[in-house]
Amino acid sequence: MSSVRDRNESAWLLPADGKHVNHQLRHDMRHFDDTDEVDLVVVGCGAGGSTMIQRLAREGWKVVALDAGPFWDPDTDWVSDEAGSHHLYWTEPRVISGSDPVPLGSNNSGRGVGGSMVHYAGYTPRFHPSDFQTHTLDGVGADWPIAYGDLKPYYEAIEGELPVAGEKWPWGDPHSYPYRPHPVGGNGEIFLRGAEAMGLTAKVGPVAIVNGRFGNRAHCIYRGFCLQGCKVNAKASPLITHIPDALAHGAEVRANAMVTRVEVDERTGRATGVHYVRDGVARFQRATMVAIAGYSIETPRLLLNSASDRFPDGLCNDFDQVGRYLMVQGAPQTAGRFDGEVRMFKAPPPEVSTEAFYETDPSKPYKRGFSIQTVSPLPITWAEHVAAQGHWGADLRNYMSDYVHWSCLGALCEFLAQPENRVTLSDEKDRHGLPVANFAYSQCDNDSHLMKAAQGVMEDLLHAAGADEVITINRYAHLVGGARMAADEQHGVVDAGCRSFAVPNLYITDGSVLPTQGSANPALTIMAVAARAAERLISTSRRGH
């Protein structure tokens, strides 16, 4: 593979003068007119959308990405503070329902250029080969129309571009990482100590946080505010890993542009562009192709809100697949109390993980598995843990004063894809007058088995490390699915190349196309899927559509 700089110069396009944005590059950014028919308009500038425009701009395509949120400047827009980071999340109205409703916002929903990766922890594990055929292997979930081997070269490419630091990885398809593992803080130390005492394999990483220097990106300073946006430019997000290179190759990023509808010509059956609102003015960007990358809630919502005579139940929804099979991971977090001071806030929350429980264990009453990682909540999030135990008033204050003594681990349990876990349109409207998403979620038995099993392992691990007390909070993490890829249009919305079955020039290139999610944080896989879709688009167009 060519050197990273030869194929993605983003890290070298960032300034080396102590600032974290190349203002000249943004100032010189190409601007397309609404009436220009661009080669591709991308909706959403997160993990999937940013990767797409970077790949295609390098090939000389005229591309513009519209994002509903701001074009962040880490120096002026982000703070080293929990409550002050509220604006990083998608907080437009949404309704949650089902027997196990999943809170959104700060939990899993990003906003602005860089998307959710602006506030993700930074873990970037690969999916395991088994994730691509859970139905064949275990009779649950779904098989992907592609195999692990189809994504592997893109995993390797993206791991180089982020870049990822970690120990040699023994699970799934064993592999190594381009950068050495980071040193660990108190929480990572506890995890490694407990794992060793249990005879459990645990590894440092994999995190998309610079260890050493990479282009003009700085080494991590271990300040612990990864989830509040990395002011250091050490933690990877597309804002710094793909957007600079895209701009340098002529892409436009149009921020604060809320796409309201994808237009499809009823006569030709092809998408002609997108309607969007910017500064209160309704506009229409013409395009030869459209790629939606708004993630698992907003992508289905946009399709449903783009209903027409030809698609009365929503765009690409001929077979009632849009919005379905949306998944979260069960993410119980178990904390342990030590007389020593762990001070888990003094390091990046993502430090150490184990995937020893990732695969189906035939001796268990459930299929698939879970991973365990350090999480290290800051005070406000930690208060949620304590309040969840039922404490309030003086009890809560007393318990909270013990913060420095606690170590906290989090599990990611593979929840299964189910058709009724889905996005539909609510009666409620947003400020644009558009129906908001109603996201329904209910666990199945396998899901709740995994939650309990993961909690048990985390309790054992913390006890093995010397904890005298443990507490657990049940919660959820990540989103994938909602417009999944499948072998045919009766089982999904897009094909293996992310092209929609219903509209030949409409693509979906974000986490909503994932048919399963394993027990891995999804960012790396979303980027790899988008990179693969982009490459196939490029080779198809070279052959002349």
């Binding site: 409703p101 959104l104 250091v232 003094k346 390091a347 309030w392 008033g393 913060y403």
Partner: protein, 217 residues
């Protein structure tokens, strides 16, 4: 400001003697400094709550965060002003449960319900009834679990109150002093991470065995 002195009614105070997170503010970046120092300045005026709602909300939030002891109001955090500012600006989390109204209306409805209940049970409003009566009303909502309370899922009501109140309280530097949290850390970062390792400005817990689960020694 500094860490409050130990108090018999506040066993959580005095664990980090002399630790003052604001003493580090000259090492913070200016944007973060602006955001944090605004919280220790004058509390924002009430704009969202009506005076009556403000009274109920103050009594509720002070009870939830254990700052309702009238004889000890040191380092009191203006929780309701901070919540009010968020609601006035519609700075909500966006999502709401399908069986709850949007957050602002949910606050108004649940404060009114609390006040009604206090009047019915104790013949006076929630803001003016006795502390133990207030505590029993609050406890009764928590005890309902997922059962209905004034037409709402009590668990979702509890989640609304505690989420907003805890976010406001633990965003405040005086709360950070109380729990030994070192606050903003940019551009300084940390040099001594690891169990029992401190930065030069950090202070060890003076009562390391004071595990709340074991009971206060």
């Amino acid at each position: 400001m500094g860490s409050p002195t130990p108090s018999p009614t506040q066993p959580w105070s005095g664990r980090f003697p002399g630790f003052d997170v604001l003493g580090q503010s000259s090492h913070w970046d200016p944007v973060t400094t602006g955001v944090v120092l605004e919280r220790v300045g004058m509390a924002p005026d009430i704009r969202f709550f009506t005076p009556s709602e403000q009274g109920v909300a103050t009594a509720l939030c002070d009870a939830l965060l254990g700052q309702d002891d009238p004889t000890n109001q040191e380092s009191r955090v203006p929780i309701v002003n901070l919540i009010d500012a968020r609601l006035a600006e519609q700075q909500t989390d966006g999502w709401h449960y399908h069986d709850m109204p949007a957050d602002g209306q949910a606050w108004r409805d649940t404060l009114a319900a609390l006040d009604t209940e206090a009047n019915e049970k104790f013949g006076t409003g929630f803001a003016t009834c006795q502390g133990r009566h207030r505590a029993s009303l609050i406890q009764s909502v928590q005890d309902l679990g997922t059962d209905q309370w004034h037409g709402l899922n009590a668990k979702h009501v509890w989640s609304l109150w505690t989420r907003y109140a805890c976010t406001a309280f633990y965003s405040h530097p005086s709360a950070w002093n109380e729990i030994g949290f070192s606050g903003p850390a940019y551009p300084r970062g940390y040099k001594n991470a690891g169990v029992d390792k401190l930065e030069p400005f950090e202070v060890h817990d003076a009562k390391p065995a004071d595990d709340p689960l074991r009971g206060t020694p």
